[in-house]
Symmetry: C2
Subunit: 248 residues, 2 copies
């Protein structure tokens, strides 16, 4: 069954069991899927999945009635934020797509010393909207019941301040002297933040700052992973440890 | 230090401690890296890493003397083969690049019922050479001491016969009735084969055939991963379980 996330332009009222889908999704239901009155879809909102029947539709607005609400349990029991030193748009898109499928909750681009990409202030809004759209589509494809949120790029200083909101802060960075494997750093924390560097890696000054802000430096196994591959490794290992889908 | 894998066109003689690098790598050393006599590089061959000093060089041939041999321990303790239903060239390139970084040893494209890509016999050689080059570059980047081998596409029937060579055969395919999580299927096997379907998934007839050939059907967590993301998940989980780089 087709899956849609209820976003800001749409509307959900649980007291009357009514959903109104607007915007691109209304167009998708009407013109792409060519659905009709009485067809049913999954509508995901606030961690719940509602099976809803179409009562009325046109390409601007689809009205539905909730006929059943299910808890799908497709999500990790903890919230995972992947922060990444700012990289090129194509790499960001790839990472966001992959980590959304793998269950991440937030993506924060961080402007770091070795980021060789510039932020053009006038395009941030448009870019962030596009990246969130990619996340939405990946979440639908992966049958998730919530969507990853892509944040606007922030400075390294803002990022350090923001890190106080998490109960585990990790930074993936090769450490030959005293390596801590990521799999050993994750226990039962509920709000996990993991930072990976941009293509050029993380500057030692930044590592020192991160450590002052309670970041633990972790390795991702024995090989050197590029910045676009590292988030996949991180998410898979977190899902292995915390996904609760296997005997440990 | 720059890393090169000794391939067929090059030559290594351990009795005289001599290496001759030919072809693209000779060009790379001479023209791209602009190295000189007495510069040193890593030369990887047969699981060992030799630190070698340049004695003579031109863009066709670089002669080196081995000054030290090290065992780097960057490889998994088991051999992992990822087989994938034949997908488009760009997706294959992405998968090969990522799983090489993550430590896989072999990649086999399998012609399956729902593969929507055709194999053009006359181009197989050229394509396989290109894919192996991508693997070589990814292995160098990841500081591996051996390279993933990309095989030529084989039929599903040939694949079933080939599967006898492995001591664990897994197929990643959603199973709602009796799911076995991949993390629970891997113990201490030395030669692991994991098959993922093409974009359209695996046909039930194929699943039945695979099961007759001792394949275990496994899930990759609770979400639905696309064929180009699934291999990343598989490799990360195998590395977590078997990488021996953490307290279990």
């Amino acid at each position: 069954m087709q899956r849609y996330f209820i976003n800001k332009e749409s509307h959900i009222d649980l007291s009357t069991n009514t959903i109104i889908i607007r915007g691109d999704d209304a167009h998708h239901i009407t013109n792409v899927m060519r659905m009709r009155v009485n067809d049913t879809v999954y509508c995901c909102y606030d961690g719940l999945t509602h099976i809803a029947r179409i009562d009325n539709l046109n390409q601007r607005e689809v009205t539905l009635t909730i006929i059943e609400t299910i808890k799908e349990n497709k999500e990790l029991p903890c919230s995972v934020t992947i922060a990444q030193g700012l990289v090129r748009k194509e790499k960001m898109e790839e990472v966001i797509d992959h980590i959304t499928e793998m269950g991440a909750n937030h993506y924060i681009p961080v402007i770091m010393k070795r980021s060789n990409v510039k932020v053009s202030e006038d395009k941030i809004d448009k870019k962030t909207i596009r990246l969130n759209k990619i996340a939405k589509e990946a979440a639908e494809q992966a049958h998730r019941s919530s969507v990853l949120e892509v944040h606007e790029p922030i400075s390294f200083k803002e990022f350090l301040t923001k890190s106080n909101e998490y109960d585990l802060c990790l930074v993936a960075h090769v450490d030959d002297t005293n390596p801590l494997y990521i799999g050993d750093a994750i226990k039962d924390e509920m709000n996990i933040l993991v930072l990976v560097g941009p293509e050029g890696g993380i500057d030692q000054i930044e590592i020192d700052e991160l450590k002052k802000h309670n970041f633990k430096q972790v390795t991702l196994g024995k090989r050197v992973l590029r910045t676009e591959v590292a988030p996949n490794y991180i998410m898979s290992v977190i899902d292995y440890i915390r996904g609760n889908n296997h005997e440990v």
